[in-house]
């Protein structure tokens, strides 16, 4: 077989970094191969993809050096973030943009657009649909379609499903499999459930960008399981390998209660989410599930009093009517951690709310040091929050939530886009808080988390909490409270 992409003795260094990301790395990809690159975050997989396609150094200036390099003659690249790879507002216009780049005559464009969309299985009533109205999974399939317009012999897929829910992930891989049978495909991905039958070669990188394995799927998963677990790869069976190591705890220090009755949240004066009747007690972990746009996030925003609400909302005996009352009581962890950062260092970030309240400096220091240690951020305490890795940013945003021991913790998909290692770490921290008596309400798309951690599930459909049931499968929740009787 002939080679399609290759680099020999690659050296690469990001400006400002202390050391080289790659030192004399060599890799050869053969025509028609389906290759999966695995490794811990920050090991340089995406960077390698960008180098093999030539995006580095042509579009992204990064110092590199190599003895020899071969780029594929034609290639397409799908990126991770569905919101930052389009330049046009409408589906047809975005595809037309690529066709214009290729000098395709205008008269041929409508047919080509139709062809590309049906190739990736994106069925729309109207090709002139707003991209913003599509779900994440659909956007990524559009990205794939726009890349197919280039007629590539090689596809680079750079974590295309990292920010996509389960359903969308499945659809994206279905599309890829149907269009890429006879193409070369090089994939970087953490969530690999759906592609293992498609891949014929797996390359595993270590933390310092060195290849530690390069073999077929079976060999790699039999011999390198430990490394994959260590690197946070979502390989099949990772949940089973992951054992909950802490004891389940029957009693807890606090007894908090939440009562909701005829509770409604409004957006632009219209009822956006409602919940007829529910109550919760300390130690409950409620997973909020439902389709995209059903009103899950709206429910959390309403509970945090960030939207207008009506009905009864009682937390620990106090009727809640505005966000100020929730200041020490409840905390909301947003999907994007950066939104919540307000200072210039990790330490200040955790101490912020205590400093604002003018607490004793010694008390502040003690509390912050404790949290830094629990969250594994002690070494990073003087870093700017933006300099942290995705996993560390997420942990920092949860650490700021724990500062004042909230009685009610609201989380909007906190494990979204995280690798398995960070996910487990985070879930353990939340579980510990639950055992201490915190009521956790969390929006998630991940059925494994729902199955294994939630003590209770709220299902939202069309802006209404339609189901409320106890989770029988939960592995460790032996201390469930019979909430049905509480009301």
């Amino acid at each position: 077989m002939t080679n399609i992409a290759m680099v020999e003795q690659l050296r690469l260094k990001f400006p400002g970094d202390d050391s080289l990301l790659f030192k004399d790395l060599s890799i050869t990809i053969k025509k028609g191969e389906k290759v999966l690159l695995l490794g811990p975050s920050g090991c340089g997989k995406s960077t390698l993809l960008q180098t093999l396609s030539g995006l580095i150094p042509k579009s992204i200036e990064v110092p590199i050096k190599y003895r020899n390099i071969q780029y594929p003659e034609s290639w397409g690249y799908v990126f991770q973030d569905p919101d930052s790879q389009f330049c046009m507002p409408y589906v047809d216009e975005e595809l037309a943009f690529v066709l214009e780049n290729l000098n395709v005559p205008r008269s041929e464009m409508p047919d080509r657009i139709e062809e590309l969309l049906s190739a990736v299985g994106l069925r729309l009533d109207l090709y002139h649909s707003s991209i913003q109205s599509l779900s994440g999974g659909m956007k990524q399939r559009l990205a794939l379609a726009s890349v197919l317009a280039l007629n590539p012999e090689c596809l680079f897929l750079d974590e295309p499903t990292a920010l996509i829910d389960e359903e969308g992930t499945k659809q994206i891989w279905e599309s890829v499999k149907s269009v890429a049978k006879d193409k070369t495909v090089i994939i970087v991905e953490h969530k690999i459930d759906h592609i293992l039958d498609f891949i014929d070669r797996v390359i595993v990188f270590s933390y310092d960008g060195v290849i530690i394995a390069d073999d077929d799927v079976n060999t790699v998963f039999s011999f390198y399981r430990k490394q994959l677990q260590e690197y946070g790869i979502w390989y099949p069976g990772v949940w089973d390998d992951y054992l909950l190591s802490f004891e389940s705890n029957a009693g807890h220090g606090y007894n908090h209660s939440l009562i909701l009755e005829n509770f409604k949240g409004y957006r632009k004066k219209e009822i956006n989410v409602q919940l007829d009747k529910a109550s919760a007690l300390s130690g409950e972990w409620i997973a909020v599930v439902g389709d995209n746009g059903a009103g899950k996030s709206t429910l959390l925003l309403s509970l945090m009093q960030l939207l207008k609400t009506s009905g009864t909302y009682v937390l620990n005996g106090e009727i809640i009517q505005n966000i100020k009352q929730l200041q020490k009581e409840a905390y909301f962890v947003f999907q994007n951690p950066e939104y919540q950062f307000v200072t210039n260092s990790v330490y200040e970030e955790i101490s912020y709310s205590l400093t604002v309240k003018k607490e004793e400096p010694s008390i502040i220091k003690e509390r912050v040091d404790e949290l830094l240690a629990i969250f594994g951020l002690s070494k990073k305490q003087n870093h700017h929050p933006y300099h942290l890795s995705i996993g560390q940013k997420r942990r920092l945003s949860v650490a700021t939530a724990f500062v004042e021991n909230p009685k009610l913790l609201l989380l909007d998909e906190p494990t979204f886009g995280q690798d398995s290692k960070n996910t487990f770490h985070l879930l353990e921290l939340l579980e510990r808080e639950r055992q201490k008596g915190c009521i956790i309400i969390m929006v998630t798309h991940d059925s494994e988390i729902v199955k294994r951690f939630a003590t209770r599930i709220w299902e939202i459909d069309n802006g209404k909490v339609v189901k409320d049931w106890k989770n029988e499968h939960v592995l460790h929740g032996k201390d469930q409270v019979a909430y049905e009787q509480y009301i």
Partner: protein, 193 residues
């Protein structure tokens, strides 16, 4: 500097400027809300309308960026249906041009508070030049005209100078601006070790 701006430079400039365009639009109602107080108190906040030029320049640090930023910000404001209508677009062009000229006078080599403050004053002079013809400014009583100019210049230094500098510094600290900085020779040398 290579010829012209790269696509990344242009896109970053335009996107952040359009974000400022949204601020410009919100600034309109605020401006005419304080205006009826008279005595040109409103002029003290006029400087906000030049801020895209200096922030973008401090981030990208290349020729043409200040001008492009001010044009992009005012286009964003215009397309959102600004109360000032067409005016904002043409003012944007002139203000951006004047700010650019000041920065050019320093040969695009200085990115400090002084340069951006002066660029703010430059933009303010551009806007006063427009106002002079459009708003019969010369027909205000002299003391009133001087008051207007004084306040507008002070406002420009506050917003276009100090505030823009503060924002750029805070952005620098987050590390995102590294994306846009060319790699240094040391970085390339490190490859050979």
């Amino acid at each position: 500097m290579k010829k012209g701006l790269k696509l990344t430079d242009i896109l970053v400039t335009i996107v952040i400027s359009i974000a400022f365009g949204i601020v410009y639009k919100i600034w309109g109602p605020l401006y005419y809300a304080v205006k009826p107080f008279g005595l040109h108190i409103d002029q003290l906040i006029y400087g906000m309308w030049f801020i895209a030029a200096t922030v973008a320049f401090l981030i990208i640090r290349k020729a043409g960026v200040a001008f492009l930023a001010e044009v992009a910000a005012s286009s964003g404001e215009f397309l959102m249906g600004s109360e000032f209508g067409l005016e904002v677009l043409l003012y944007g062009v002139v203000q951006g041009l004047f700010a650019e000229l000041v920065i050019m006078a320093f040969r695009y080599k200085r990115y400090d508070l002084l340069v951006v403050s002066l660029a703010g004053i430059g933009a303010a002079i551009g806007s006063i030049f427009m106002d002079y013809y459009k708003g019969y400014m010369g027909d205000l009583s002299t003391w009133n005209f001087m008051l207007l100019i004084g306040f507008r210049l002070i406002g420009s230094v506050i917003f276009t100078g100090f505030m823009a500098f503060g924002i750029a510094k805070a952005l620098e600290a987050t590390g995102v601006t590294n994306l846009l900085r060319p790699a240094s020779k040391e970085d390339y040398d490190a490859l050979n070790q």
